[in-house]
Subunit: 241 residues, 6 copies
């Protein structure tokens, strides 16, 4: 099983910028969901394992408002069964002309203790969603009900979202920049490396704001590493601690 | 004639999400203006009958700053003649490289008691527009004067805006999600249905936030309808009242 | 040399809407950077001469995290050498899948007294950038490091940015609408004309908000010009002063 | 079970234009694959039941040239197992930067008696594909191997292709215009109606080329229907025959 | 009145490349319809005055197959009334998901002596259209009937097509590159200038293919002009003749 | 120095599909120019070292027809100085609304013995270009003169074209699929590997067309390699020969 409390906590303290850098160093170039953004600034950080829902285009004789009454409807099943602490990731194929979800469904996710929701499509009832303060990422607001253009096909298959492969159990992390997908087998090592890199960048930022030039400081050199170690000791903080 | 005070008031209390659902139930799938958003969060709700202005591409020998001096210029005519309470809807053909309007024109609309302005293009002077607090919907900010890329052709013809057909007299409703166009002949029945649906969804949201699961509640069942009726009686509110 | 203190101050008081109008009157139709927006509302106004950085697509055998260690890396060179008071303008070819810059680099620009940064691509660490309150314009947030998709080729060549030609030394002005590029040889006359136009528009806006119709007022007529002159005298302000 | 010989033969004689009209009359508006075209003019007509293959974005640690060596690789499995007479329909999510298939795979499909191949992505080795004269539909040529951007996920699930829902067993028909997806349960009645409509349109076209005006002829009137019946008798052909 | 036989004949001998150059010299930069191409290579040249038809988005309760039965339906009216020798120009707003016209309508235009048809949308029945050999320009093939996404609003108003303003009576010229719109008041002078320029370019091309360098030849110099005059005399041809 | 006769000849016998596969095996994923296609089917194969020309957006006061009279105009300089056997690669930034070149310039390239021309923009005078039978690759036809939207900035700098980095001296290879850019330092080894792979694929295609299944054949296994060696001996051909 994937996301222990320590790793979750570590991931909540690092940025998607740092995580994509760590992934890039391992040859993974396509891990950041493109054209997917938080519904608002200042949301809580999002960390959780992906629970996937796959949408395909709607067909008029199959997709109507009545379809939602079926408790086996995959969208409703996803809402009721994705585990607390997980992130519901919806493959909407970039289709934002209708909603992948709305405020009532997201309120239910929040009540169930789910960690967040991500789509490369749209959400409806944006005002209501904003009131919830729940980590929700999307392409843009979209009022029409999903059934106008979208059909919920199945859950927990590998999907694409924002142009990125998402496998069930991968770890989704979201901040102001957007959402990164960390492959499950790399989560522990990436989290540790990202925490260390974040501490160094905090040090760099403090120095830069004090007037220091970048060369010799960022990226790190042996000298700057030594200086950083001293800075850490002085602050009494260390990722090794 | 179209929008009586009661219907206007009803529409101001329902969301574009609810309205598009009501329209979808009648087979109308394409009523939400795509890629059109409010200039800011927290604007007053927008409700009003469409007064249309049609733009086509500019031609250099016809379109210059001087053209605006003509009081018969259709853009200026639209600004001065669209009725109080109406919404000026501009067919910009999605062209956002130049402005469909700016803060001075929108200030004039506000002073005239117009209910809102919608374009699938751009507005200039965004800072000034935000200061007005007027319901204005657009694709994105765009500083260049309209005549660089746009020519005002005529007013009060059927148009397209955001990919949706808008006929003069249709009712435009705008909220945080964006703008829906309600065909004139359906406005009264849609407004009534939307109010009822909104009350039920308020009930649902209250229950969901208290921990209730969606199946059996949303969409409604005979049992949940009965529970809703009791909830309404307890609150002393009813759309039938 | 281009931007004297008086012109800089004049440009800081006028809008990009007014500047693009002045440029359009001289036949310049393509001066507003398309699809480039401020990272936040309410930033300080941006005025400065363009210092250009050109990016091309990355190649995997050339572009890795190690490349940034080279002090001659053009991106790092641009950050360290663009003059105080200038604006760093990055030609990212519209590529926003990876970052053109991030919070540490922008903190360095701020510390160096640079006036702003503009890209038609993305920035990473948006939360950190917002904390800096620095005039930064972009297409959208983008967490991945630049080297994933971008290679810094050279500095101070003519470039394109947001579909507009930018020559080193052109003057970039940014406000809530976005960024305009004023060709160097026109800066002085455009600035003067824009200040005068802005005063007239302040007068117009005051009149419009008091209920005045647009015809005969906007655009100006000889009569409205006379009225404006009286208004200026009454206020004791004049661009001629 | 689906496509009997008579229906197949009927569908091979009607156009995608006629089929989409018949489907539209039943409320199905979204049946024509958008932005998907034949690899060449003059190919044999394509008719067959859909056998689906689903692609998602590639991930560098999973997708390399070596992956194709696995006989369980879903792309290779699809090539070897889709039935003779069927059409292989590939959901490439519109990704045409790498190939969904190439000349060797398509040669194998042809050798196996498959009726056609459709993707909303790209094919490589276009020259070789053209030599085969096999009904193949795509978005555009694309030389890079699929594994650069695409991962074969599974077969025989409902998919989207060209923005249209495709369920295994739906019938795909292709001509010079492109490809239509006929839902399985409607195939028989649509085929019959389309044949009748095609005969009437042949009659119309003959009349129009002889100088006849459209009103009263197209769409049909009772009078033109009678004239058509006489024309059919004279030619000795009839869909009822 | 506009297009006399001599001007029509002149325009049939010059290219859209030459015409756009002549228009650019007069400050007209936006006269070539973008993303609009001939349905096939090798069609007859197209020259004729624009007769315009305007389409807007469809609405399900207004737009069905039955609508075409009305002889006042603007699309059918356009087909029956656009004058022989004119070009039917359809403003489809770039919507190519359904057809602006098909083979039967185009056969009727051909029978009526119309000079061509242009849309920035799609045509259906491409195979049938190709058989007609009629000058037809479009964005791409599209099988679905127009009513799925398009509503014919009116005829003979100014429109946009391919991003270009087209006024009724402007002259449309089409070749392998695509279609240019020549404003009516400039047609005569543009045609004459284009013929002269074409002769010079024929001379240039002959020289270049014989090995001559471009400088001093293209663009023309006084020396090359003299050489051209001699070449014309030798060939016994001259635009002045 | 780069392209010896043997390597050039090898590259002329292999496909862009094979070359992109060889490059992908070395970790190079982005070598195929996207959305760039041959002007016609059946052109001669294109092989040559890149000579680069960089375009940026036009500015009205700098870019007019007169600009082309300057022999130092970079576009004209590129045409006259790119070496015989090289390929002129034009970075048009994807801008196809005006022409990057036309038939006269391409005729000059052909007369000078240049091997081909590539742009990610447009060409004008397509009919004339087709008559030349010269390997030319573009995004689409575009009649307007380049100066309407493009400014030639410089030659022989690293550029982007079709989303791919192109350094002067890289080797461009074009076929029916499009154009691949082979980095200069890899050309020799890639060419040799591609020739060997092509021979194996010829063997595979022959077997597949004779009814052989793909598993165990493609990709190769030790057994199929042995079979291939026997096939080669039988045919008396070998890349080792």
């Amino acid at each position: 099983m994937a996301l222990d409390a320590q790793t979750r906590s570590a991931l909540a303290r690092v940025s998607t910028a740092t995580l994509t850098t760590c992934l890039f160093k391992r040859g993974l170039r396509n891990t950041f969901l493109q054209d997917v953004r938080p519904v608002a600034a200042g949301l809580p950080r999002m960390v959780g394992e992906a629970f996937t829902l796959r949408l395909i285009p709607a067909r008029e004789d199959l997709d109507s408002m009545e379809a939602y009454a079926d408790p086996q409807h995959p969208q409703r099943r996803a809402i009721e069964t994705c585990p607390p602490g997980s992130v519901l990731v919806i493959d909407s194929r970039g289709e934002a002309r209708a909603a992948s979800a709305g405020d009532i469904l997201i309120a239910r996710l929040k009540a169930r203790g789910v960690a967040g929701i991500v789509t490369d499509g749209g959400y409806r009832d944006l005002a209501g969603i904003l009131r919830l303060g729940f980590p929700a990422y999307f392409r843009r607001p979209s009022a029409p009900p999903g059934a106008v253009f979208l059909h919920a096909a199945d859950v927990q298959l590998p999907i694409g979202c924002g142009g990125v492969a998402v496998y069930p159990g991968d770890v989704m992390v979201g901040d102001e920049d957007g959402v990164v997908c960390v492959p499950a087998h790399l989560v522990a090592e990436i989290a540790a490396e990202a925490v260390a890199m974040t501490e160094y960048e905090d040090f760099v930022l403090e120095r830069v704001e004090a007037g220091r030039a970048l060369p010799g400081l960022y990226p790190a050199t042996p000298e700057s590493r030594a200086e950083f170690a001293a800075w850490q000791r002085a602050k009494g903080t260390s990722s090794a601690g």
